[in-house]
């Protein structure tokens, strides 16, 4: 099982020097494949933002664009969810995971064609699935709306990357396995398990009755917790210490956090079904596990805060750090919020309201998406050998994204609580509860526009980068590896 079988020296004595040349070779080998992953991800991010913003508009103006079936809310909303989950988040996440895996295993990519094919097939799958949803061929299973014929395409494309990642790990250079590698390896094994199980039990040989809902939310929640979360955390555990040049505060806590996440997370999904027709033990187990999530979350929060302590000044000067720390702080917030939402007393207030919508955006956007932006700001210059063309475009991107998501989650949270109290009050008619939520939904639509603007800025900047509008990287420290002397070696 291990590469280090024969009388391997103690980990601390076999720290080897990772040379600039080695880093350069690895980045060089990943250039083509990863630019495809990142380019496609940014494309889907734009499509997903437009779909989401249009769906938000329809909450304010239900008659808007209702002449064509494919433009109706019932298709636009699942299309938004699947485009951002599989088109943007998973594609960007796979790209970042591949880069981190190669850098931490210290092995260049020997099979670029494999990864390029995987990227292309994956995106063809997402495209077919999205068009199918818009055409009305959707499965009414949240998070799995793509029709059955898309599943094998996505699964095959994913398997190419997954198997590659395991092979890469097998042939890594000797040394200590960094905590990010643990997270990535776990994510690589969890995702196919989740995706296959959900497809077997919901599509291929569907479970009966309410058990379907249990499987549905087991999958929906684990896609966040055991697929996106480990990739996001792997990214934070690498980039925060790497950017500020300071080892993680407590490596012990990071390992504890990893194993406790692995232990507790997969029990959480059932808290979406509190009050539903399920055996009490299933719901109770989910509530207990959700509260136990405080352990892995606090280990991450303490660790990242203590690592950053005394270095917060760098937030002003490093784009990667700024996005990553925003994501890391949001991770603590969104996880703590999630744990409290699983407590039945609070759940009875927030369930079926905009509060939950705010929570999921805080997770997938405030945490994961910001984390991916941070990673991409670090990785892309190293792939291309060029600096980002404009510091102010990065600042615009950050402030639009940060303002947009804070405002969105803030309004949905307040609106959701008001909506929840109205729903609970027998004196208040159901329609009135919607009227109470309405002003907040106008602001939410506005935030959708702000976030779309942020993504346009990022897409324009990425395109400029590909057109090589910036300067070539030469500074020896700040953007280290590929300089002319090295390239000539």
């Amino acid at each position: 099982m291990s590469a280090a079988t024969v009388a391997a020296p103690h980990p601390s004595t076999r720290l080897e020097v990772l040379s600039s040349q080695e880093r350069y070779d690895i980045d060089r080998s990943l250039r083509g494949p990863l630019l495809i992953f990142f380019g496609a991800a940014i494309f889907w991010l734009l499509i997903g933002s437009i779909l989401g913003t249009l769906a938000a508009f329809k909450m304010n103006y239900p008659g808007l664009l209702d002449s064509e079936a494919w433009l109706t809310f019932g298709r636009m909303r699942p299309a938004h969810l699947n485009v951002v989950a599989y088109g943007w988040a998973s594609t960007a996440g796979l790209g970042v995971a591949i880069w981190l895996m190669a850098r931490l295993c210290r092995v260049p990519l020997r099979s670029p064609k494999l990864i390029i094919s995987a990227g292309l097939i994956w995106n063809v799958g997402v495209l077919i699935g999205t068009l199918a949803i818009l055409a009305g061929d959707s499965r009414s299973v949240e998070w799995l709306e793509f029709p059955g014929y898309v599943t094998p395409i996505l699964f095959f494309a994913y398997s190419l990357v997954g198997v590659w990642a395991i092979v890469m790990f097998r042939f890594r250079k000797p040394g200590h396995v960094y905590v990010s590698q643990w997270y990535l390896l776990a994510a690589v094994l969890w995702f196919p398990w989740l995706y296959a199980t959900a497809n077997i039990l919901l599509i291929w040989q569907p479970a009966q009755g309410s058990a379907q809902a249990a499987v549905n939310w087991w999958y929906g929640h684990n896609a966040l917790g055991l697929w996106f979360t480990p990739i996001g955390l792997a990214s934070a555990y690498y980039f925060i210490p790497k950017v500020i040049g300071r080892p993680i505060h407590s490596y012990y806590l990071s390992i504890l956090g990893f194993w406790s996440l692995a232990l507790f997370y997969s029990w959480n999904g059932m808290h979406h079904l509190i009050g539903g027709p399920f055996p009490a033990w299933m719901i109770s187990a989910a509530v207990v596990a959700s509260v136990m999530m405080f352990i892995p979350v606090l280990t991450v929060a303490i660790n990242h805060h203590m690592t950053m302590r005394g270095n917060f000044a760098y937030l002003k000067w490093s784009p990667t750090l700024r996005f990553t720390v925003f994501g890391a702080m949001t991770y603590t917030l969104v996880s703590a919020q999630g744990s409290t939402m699983a407590i039945p007393a609070l759940n009875s207030l927030t369930h079926f309201t905009d509060y939950t919508v705010g929570h999921s955006h805080l997770g997938l956007y405030g945490f994961f998406t910001m984390m991916m932006f941070g990673a991409m700001y670090y990785i892309i210059p190293r792939l291309t050998g060029w600096e980002w063309p404009s510091a102010s475009l990065i600042r615009w991107h950050f402030w639009l994204a940060a303002t947009g998501i804070v405002l969105m989650v803030g309004t949905l949270t307040v609106g959701g609580v008001i909506q929840g109290f109205a729903l609970r009050d027998v004196e208040v008619a159901f329609m009135s509860s919607l009227h109470f939520a309405s002003p907040f939904r106008y602001v939410r639509t506005l935030t959708g526009i702000i976030l779309t603007a942020a993504h346009v800025v990022f897409a324009v900047h990425f395109t400029l980068m590909l057109l090589r509008a910036g300067e070539q990287k030469k500074s020896p420290t700040l953007l280290a590896t590929p300089n002319k002397e090295l390239a000539a070696v």
Partner: protein, 71 residues
């Protein structure tokens, strides 16, 4: 129903087994000893501890980071 359940059962044992195997391998291999060393593997001679590796692509940010690194 049968085939699906059997596949899931097999998958479950494979996944659970690999998690256990990974954990025991990590213990045996010494991955869980000398943890502080683990946190240093992402640094090396060219990008040592204390070296900031990212900043905005403008002169002001570069000189600010250099100042901060000195202090």
């Amino acid at each position: 129903m049968e085939t699906g359940i059997i596949l899931l059962a097999v998958g479950f044992f494979l996944l659970g087994g690999s998690a256990l195997a990974a954990f025991f391998w990590a213990v045996r291999d010494g991955q869980l000893q000398d943890l502080p060393a683990g946190s240093r593997v992402i640094f090396d001679d060219q990008e040592p501890i204390g070296e900031v590796t990212d900043c905005f692509p403008d002169k002001r940010s570069r000189s600010a980071v250099k100042q901060l690194m000195k202090s």
